[in-house]
């Protein structure tokens, strides 16, 4: 798989990361290096091998259904560039 400049631009847009036109060839190249490495991993035959999800045998940790958090709107909103009447305020998004 090879990533061209258009694909690199599209991925950047989906991630909302601004990339200057001039930087795209280098970015595409970087993607290709990474994918090339993954391609190399594909050479290993893992037929019938269950994916390892953890290096230690452990179970997904669970919590009880108890309200133990929240009620901290000031803290949650502290980094907001703009907030009004308890809401985050963002440039208008309309469907």
């Amino acid at each position: 798989m090879s990533i061209d400049q258009n694909t690199a631009a599209r991925v950047a847009k989906l991630a909302r990361i601004k990339v200057e036109e001039a930087a795209l060839p280098a970015l595409a190249e970087e993607f290709n290096t990474i994918l090339g490495f993954i391609e190399q991993l594909n050479e290993v035959d893992v037929e019938g091998v269950e994916p390892m999800t953890s290096v230690t045998p452990q179970r997904l940790k669970r919590r009880a259904d108890v309200v133990s958090d929240g009620n901290q709107p000031e803290a949650v909103m502290k980094n907001a560039p703009d907030a009004r009447e308890g809401f985050f305020a963002v440039p208008k998004v309309v469907e």
Partner: protein, 503 residues
């Protein structure tokens, strides 16, 4: 056993310029799990709280915060799966669905694309006219809900409340087995009923606790059967997804409008594009959600913060053993145990509160008359006051008491309605009220006969007429009832009148 024989509902067809078109509908229902805390954080799920107050740093996606799954949400998803007779996957996993939107702080939704917790199940959708369709459920997976954007509080800004962010949703995905707008509404109604019985979702569509994405396509007659025989979607038309519907009425309108739009395109020689659309009820049209087009590239990948979810069969068995009686079973039991009509049983099992109320009334009493009193008198009266069955001023014991008084011939049916009104507005023990207010039916023939004799003596002309035409005997019955203040036993009066007039 459940009687599973039913006729299929008629497939909705829409006439085109040259021939008929058929509808094919699949639904993705998002049902908010009833739980105290969110799926991956300890923040409250309470609807209607102050903006951004039910938010933990996990929900706000602060760096370094890690999700920890709420065990009860897993249980609720399993319970729902069992309620839909679905297979439960003992091993499931979470994936990240990436998209950018202001009310999604993480920039991704944790969902279960590749390994959902629940597999294939089914919902029996009854149409109320004796027909029904078994709609197959493809899967149910758990995912996080997004926040809410409010667009009308400021002319230039959107306001974002992330209270809902991270609340557990079950996405219930149906196969394209629904064949018309009415069926779509009936499917949601039935699903909602089952979830409410199970206690896994409150089913409140207005608050958005239950909402649906509706996939609509059209095909020529005969194509759908080919799809069902092969399960090959190639036989069906291109579908469009109408997003975020939370009104039964709008769902039906949107399906109709969207099908007609697709027919117009195809008949003009065009091609339907697979896309996400939005229904505008004011304009009565669907329109493309262009913003969603790019976002559709979700770049799913397994969530590295969460291990696969493994549950034990013994735990699933335990949940199954504690399932409540579900609507289909309850309805069948009401029909067989209480001798109810299919219709009455449907009405009485529509929700659990009604079913429980009815059962308390009907136990040890005649099922049919209990059903009549609950459906006709009680529902009618509650509706007048816009009250719910849970707010009924008449308890099941009181209503049962009234029915007992009729059954023992202590009061007439007419007096019973007056008694019901007294119990409804003033309360009290029905038997005591009857005693205190002297409402008892007169079954002693002596006073009735005396009253009748008096009436006959005073109205010789009427006697003559009635003797010539027995249909007019009703006048005498009415007079006696009037004379006894409605307390005479109508059956006894009828017999007595017939006897006396015969001469």
């Amino acid at each position: 056993m459940l009687d599973l024989t039913y006729d299929l509902p008629k497939v909705k067809t829409i006439a085109g310029a040259k021939h008929d078109w058929e509808l094919v509908i699949g639904m993705e229902v998002h049902a908010q799990v009833s739980s105290n805390a969110k799926l991956f954080s300890g923040a409250s799920t309470q609807f209607g709280s102050e903006p951004n107050s039910n938010v933990s740093f996990v929900d706000a996606a602060m760096p370094g915060m890690l999700p920890v799954i709420n065990e009860y949400c897993i249980e609720q998803a399993v319970r729902t799966g069992l309620g839909l007779k679905a297979e439960i996957n003992l091993k499931s996993a979470f994936d990240r669905k990436n998209y950018f939107y202001p009310d999604l702080p993480q920039g991704y939704q944790i969902s279960q694309l590749y390994h959902p917790i629940v597999g294939e199940g089914e919902v029996l959708v009854e149409m109320g006219d004796g027909t029904a369709r078994l709609v197959r459920v493809e899967r149910i997976h758990m995912e996080q809900d997004a926040g809410k954007s409010i667009h009308d509080m400021d002319p230039n800004m959107s306001f974002v409340d992330v209270n809902r962010t991270g609340v557990c949703l079950m996405e219930i995905v149906s196969k394209p087995d629904i064949r018309g707008p009415e069926e779509a509404a009936a499917y949601i109604t039935k699903l909602r009923q089952i979830l409410r019985y199970l206690g896994t979702c409150n089913g409140d569509m207005q608050s958005g606790a239950m909402r649906a994405d509706v996939n609509v396509s059209i095909c020529l007659p005969g194509q759908y059967e080919k799809y069902q025989a092969t399960q090959d979607f190639g036989h069906l038309g291109t579908r469009c997804e109408i997003k975020n519907m939370n009104s039964m009425r709008f769902i039906q309108q949107a399906i109709d409008v969207e099908a007609k739009r697709q027919i117009a395109i195809l008949e003009a020689g065009g091609k339907v594009d697979q896309e996400t659309r939005l229904y505008d009820p004011d304009k009565g049209e669907t329109r493309s959600m262009r913003s969603k087009e790019e976002a559709h590239d979700y770049r799913y990948f397994p969530d590295p913060d969460l291990l696969p979810l493994e549950i034990e069969q013994a735990w699933v068995d335990e949940i199954e053993a504690n399932l409540p009686e579900l609507p289909d079973a309850k309805k069948a039991r009401f029909v067989s145990d209480f001798n109810l009509s299919d219709y009455d049983a449907s009405v009485l099992t529509a929700d659990l509160d009604t079913a429980d109320y009815f059962e308390l009334v009907a136990n040890g009493r005649d099922g049919k008359s209990s059903a009549n009193w609950v459906i006709n008198e009680l529902f009618g009266r509650l509706k007048k006051d816009e009250k719910d069955i849970t707010e009924s001023p008449v308890t099941p014991a009181q209503l049962g008491g009234i029915i007992d008084l009729i059954a023992s011939d202590a009061i007439s049916g007419k007096i019973a309605k007056d008694l019901f009104e007294i119990v409804y507005t003033e309360g009290g023990d029905p038997a005591q009220i009857v005693e205190d207010k002297g409402m008892k039916q007169v079954t002693d023939l002596g006073p009735i006969e005396a009253a009748l004799d008096e009436i006959i003596a005073a109205n010789p002309a009427q006697v003559e007429k009635a003797q010539a035409n027995p249909k007019l005997a009703g006048w005498f019955v009415g007079q006696v009832m009037k004379a006894t203040g409605g307390k005479a036993n109508p059956k006894a009066v009828n017999e007595l009148v017939a006897q006396k007039l015969k001469g």
